[in-house]
Subunit: 262 residues, 2 copies
């Protein structure tokens, strides 16, 4: 995984001018990366309420003013139309375009939501001495749709999506406490152990991402996943929505450590 | 302070039928009490966003569906129009009525917001062995408008209001850790020590509530206060708003301990 230790401002400038166009894994030197969901003001209340009611899968770290693409709270001066490497444009819930600059699609009734992502709590896990094999291998985590229904809000409803990491039994407590400090990045696990209890019938076959390798004594640990809000929003077929492309996140000015609740 | 150790459901039934009409301090046997703010859907997005951007003074624990008076998340079966002992009705930001039953004022475009209150973290402080003299005396805490501006959201903006409790220097750390576990009830202090640094010029003269008594070695400790969201909402003169009357809170089914973040 390439490490670019420059300040997020400089990395975002490269992304804006198009000289940096790949995924953002390993970029930003320990700064919080965020999922993007942009919706018209008409759908924004229901989405904001959905996030408030489901903070584990939908940890809001910023909501812009209507029409503004500047996330003044977490990256003043940034432009959410240009500072992400790749965007997806959805119309009526269907993918309509994939672009590196969302400016032509911007409208003055849009609201941008930034949601914390698993990179932050994975950093916390590794910092606590927990090895994450999919990170070491440069692979993806395993994700499933579960039988846990999110609490609905207006037009938005659907099941919680989780990601799973195998954790040695001796490190389960540490995995909980290390991630729990970061409610802004999905927080503590929502389930530990038997996958069938949350509706996952085959832990070897994820709905998204890569199967994970279990060593003897490893226990499957499940965290709420940022795929949830996008999946839920798209399932309601909003007339218009912009998201980041998978793996191509927004890099904020906030250090991971500053997102700690305590 | 009278202690009524029945379940909140039974206490709310008494409030609903009018046999219990006073303040709720000491009622509900350690269950979370909540501030109420009811606004038309038209103002609800800005208020929800204001709370999201200012979680310390505005810790949302429940937002009802439009038109619904049932807080299904924290007290299923309860009715927010009748289960609070006393309500204030505001029109264009001015007090228009004070009632014990808000049903005649209910409309199908209203959204009810419940916000955590200081009773929960005061319980946590006392549970951690910190004496709160104003509670022992049955008095009120001291509150001030500060020089800390909340992050605005749409129509809503204004200064943060804080409450202050004198804490012995030896217990400062404990006061921080004990309250920090409860972000749903204002969380950790926002300031410790010199009141002038947050715009408070006379710590003996609060803007609201009672002056607090300092023993030698006591340090003033300031927490974000639930007066903030009501003051901010009313300052923008919304056409219509319902709140609880001071001290007459909504008693939820959630034990204080269950509101802990970790």
């Amino acid at each position: 995984m390439p490490i670019d230790s420059r300040h997020p401002r400089e990395i975002r400038a490269d992304i804006r001018r198009g000289t940096l166009a790949g995924t953002t894994a390993g970029l930003g030197a320990g700064h919080v990366q965020a999922n993007l969901a942009v919706l018209p003001r008409e759908q924004a209340y229901d989405f904001l309420l959905f996030c408030q009611r489901n903070p584990r899968p939908c940890p809001l770290i910023e909501v812009t003013d209507v029409g503004s693409a500047e996330p003044v709270g977490v990256a003043p001066g940034a432009d959410l139309r240009t500072d992400i490497p790749r965007y997806r444009i959805y119309k009526d819930g269907a993918l309509a375009d994939e672009v590196t600059d969302a400016t032509p699609y911007w409208r003055d009734d849009l609201v941008a939501f930034l949601l914390g992502c698993s990179f932050t709590f994975e950093w916390a896990l590794m910092d606590a001495g927990i090895r994450l094999k999919h990170v070491e291998r440069g692979g993806n985590v395993a994700m499933w749709r579960t039988s846990i229904e999110c609490r609905p809000a207006g037009a938005f409803h659907g099941p919680m999506v989780v990601s799973m990491r195998p954790i040695p039994a001796a490190q389960l407590s540490k995995a909980v406490t290390a991630s729990a400090r970061f409610p802004g990045a999905h927080g503590a696990p929502i389930h530990i152990g038997d996958p069938s209890m949350i509706g996952i019938m085959d832990v070897a076959t994820p709905d998204w991402g890569d199967p994970q390798e279990f060593a003897p004594g490893d226990v499957p640990v499940f965290w709420a996943c940022g795929v949830t809000p996008q999946a839920v929003a798209l399932a309601s077929k909003p007339p218009f929505m912009i998201t980041h492309s998978p793996g191509h996140m927004f890099i904020t000015d906030v250090p991971n450590s500053a997102l700690a609740a305590l």
